[in-house]
């Protein structure tokens, strides 16, 4: 993500309060609150300037996130946030871009754009809010819904194995792939920080609770179903939870190992993979302009002269 931060218009540092707008229209207990709190905390900590920041989203519960940040924002159409964000990344490299996208938005209707956003590796932080369900439309099977789980559209139980987001993005060539959860604010903020510091398309997979439609999922009171992956070049374990959870070391430059971890039934939170060298399409395209021989517009028809 972007590292340029504009000079503040006033000398006073801004606070969490400055980032607030209206009260979010999410259900009580929704994991989305935790995610936007984490991002706000990170923005305040790093003083990421609100007027230089654009939150971009698609459709779904997560799609509403930009409304709740006093920054610039684009609540776009279903699945296409990446395409709009790219327009900004190409032409406004001075801006900080955060994309908010749900599991249906990112991996179903927007799957093509996610694939190509990753391949283009343009500079942004992509936050996937994964509650493993379509919720704004009241509980249908999503591409990440666990097999057997009954939903409105598959009442006898979700028929297919879910897609595996981390495995998918690794396969697509992601330069940064991390996983965190809405109920671990410390880990969430550390993850966003690492994602922001990476230049390129930073994919952050966030497990997100949906107490309204799927209260059983993501049992955040027990800890035996997940582990942290840590490394000196990775993301530290969540301070509050670390003691109760298995913590293993994983070198984020090891892609083969990253795949293995991603494909296990057991869940891992932390930085799976990081390649700081992958070229960024937005930079390459701008470089073409920089390196092209400048010409005056007055001569644009000269080559058509007869």
């Amino acid at each position: 993500m972007a590292t340029q931060i504009d000079v503040m218009p006033s000398n006073d540092p801004f606070t969490m309060k400055d980032l607030n707008t209206e009260h979010p229209r999410w259900c009580v207990g929704c994991g989305d609150f935790g995610i936007i709190m984490g991002l706000k905390r990170f923005m305040v900590e790093k003083q990421i300037q609100p007027h230089m920041t654009v939150n971009v989203s698609g459709i779904g519960c997560s799609g509403r996130a930009p409304f709740y940040f006093n920054t610039y924002g684009i609540h776009a159409i279903h699945g296409r946030a990446i395409t709009v964000a790219l327009g900004l990344a190409l032409t406004r490299p001075d801006l900080n871009i955060f994309i908010h996208s749900g599991d249906g938005d990112a991996m179903s209707i927007g799957g093509n754009h996610l694939l190509h956003g990753i391949n283009k590796n343009f500079n942004c932080v992509f936050i996937m809010y994964d509650n493993e369900l379509y919720s704004l439309t009241k509980g249908q099977t999503s591409p990440t819904t666990r097999k057997g789980h009954p939903t409105q559209t598959q009442p006898l139980g979700t028929m297919l194995d879910p897609l595996n987001p981390i495995s998918f993005v690794l396969g697509a060539g992601a330069s940064f792939a991390a996983r965190t959860a809405d109920w671990m604010p410390d880990h969430l903020t550390s993850t966003l920080k690492a994602a922001f510091d990476h230049k390129g398309f930073s994919f952050v997979h966030v497990s997100q609770r949906c107490p309204h439609f799927d209260p059983e999922n993501f049992d955040h009171k027990t800890t035996n179903w997940f582990s942290f992956i840590i490394h000196e070049k990775g993301i530290p374990a969540d301070k509050r939870v670390a003691e109760k959870v298995e913590v293993i070391t994983h070198d984020p430059s090891n892609k083969e190992e990253a795949f293995k971890l991603a494909n296990r039934k057991h869940a891992y939170f932390g930085l799976f993979y990081h390649d700081p060298q992958k070229p960024c399409y937005d930079e390459l395209l701008r470089r073409q302009v920089k390196e092209a021989k400048p010409k005056p517009r007055s001569g644009i028809l000269d080559s058509f002269k007869i």
Partner: protein, 607 residues
Amino acid sequence: MSTEKRKVVRFELLMDAGFGAQKIGDILIQAMAKTGRYVYIEPMIPAEISPPPRTRAALSGVIIRVGDFDITNIGNNTDVILAAHEIVLDRRLDDEEHNPHCHILLDIGEKKNNEESYEQVCKRVTKLGLNLYPFEITSEASLLVKSLGGKGKNMFYMGMLGCIYNASVDAIINEIKLTFGKKLEESVLEKNIQIFRYGYQFAKENITLSYEIEPTAKSDTEKILIDGNSALAMGIVDAGIKLISGYPITPATSILHTLARTLPSYGGLVHQAEDEIAAIGTAIGAYFGGVPSITCTSGPGLSLKQEFIGYATAAEVPLILVDVQRSGPSTGMATKTEQSDLGAVIFGCHGDNTKVVVSVANVIDCFYAPQFARYLAEKLRLPVFIMSDFQTANSYKVIKKLQVNEMENVDDIKDFVLERFHMNRLPDQIEMVRTSQDAPGTPGGMRRVTGLNTDASGQVNYFAGANQRSHTIRNEKVHIVRRALTAPERFGLEQGEILVVGWGSTRGAIEEAVDMCINQKLPVGGMHFRVVYPLPLMLKEIFSKYKHVVTVEAAYGDSYKPSPLATLLRAETLVDVRPMISRATGRPIRPRIILEKTKEILNGHSN
């Protein structure tokens, strides 16, 4: 051999794809233009890259119209057809664009192996009453063609056509050198020129046809030879647009090609998106960031983009979209022209949607349309369409060099550009749904845009009055344009029996047809729209001056279902506007057909 003086001629060269027919067309017309003739050229392009030779699908060629007056369209029927073999000829005769005494020069070099097929086609030619001139490439030329691996026949044909139309040999050789000089080895270039000379010599000795067109075009003014899509691409540069975002689709792609080679030198980016939807999304993102951007597509892409078009309307993000129309529905005919997207463009999105639709009639419009569209898009913060079509996109014309404006801010738009599109300057202040419209980076201007309904503050609002308010304001933006529109371009009589109306690429044919009507003292007027939506307010009054108002459209229509423009005009004016010509054949509409149909109405035979 006596030379016949002509004001205007039309001829064609038909070959298999991949053998350089279009290249020959370019060389010929440049040579003719440089020697004071007015020219217009339309390529015939197959939809496939290399269809098998000697099949009907392989037809690739050029139609060339040369005259002693400024030519606005590809004209009527063809006087002379030069065909490389019988199959491409047979295929082309199906289009019925030859005149009754058309001269057909048929290369029978391949006859030995295809005796029966040749016989059949020759019989067809005779039956149609056309004049057949079978010929074979001379043995000296054949040897050279062989030494070039079978390429170079096109040079022989060019020699023949050059001789028949009394083009200057020196001018043509000069053009051959300019075209191939850097690409071909010296010896290969020499061989090509020699084949051309053989062709010229052969025609001189064996073909009795000879035409001369008076060189009347002023040669002291600077001229350019340009096609619609190149003019549009250069117009995009002149309009100060900094990002073009597109996905390959015929016939819009060449805009991307041209800009990929040129735009970076003018500080702009060319982005090839992963799909049509991504392409428009990226253009919207850039414009939200305050950077002028554009996306270009054709029918199938237009359908895919609809959701984002509605989004731009609702979110009040400026958007410029080029639709180079091709034949539909669905994949239709990718390399054939049609004007059937009008409904999809004006009414395509779900929900009530507001936009402005600008059309281009010729290459000059193509160059100025991006400035005009940018002006509208930024003033109104609405989607603005530039509607071109296959014919306009691909036809070349020699024109006087155009004035380059180097637009920076939209308020600098030149009066002559506004006049060209028949619109007055818009008011300085235009009300938006949201009061604040700052771009990211503006301190204190932080705001969120959305496809949801909002109130003036930009807050999502589902209350009863709020949505009606948004509709009213968005529609008022279009009404502001409606009121700023002046009377559309007119031809012929200002009142009379028949008013012939069209939009976009039919302008040239309508103008020429109305001229013919006036010459024959027929009570006919013509009208052409550049802005097709909204329509100006005085139409009903203009229509009342004629007994019949009829449209000419390259789009389907019949007695139950009027063609798109006729439908629109009927709805807007309650005048009984009928489609006089509603042909979706994929071929341009010819002036003479307009004349004939007009006469039929005057004689009470139809409508």
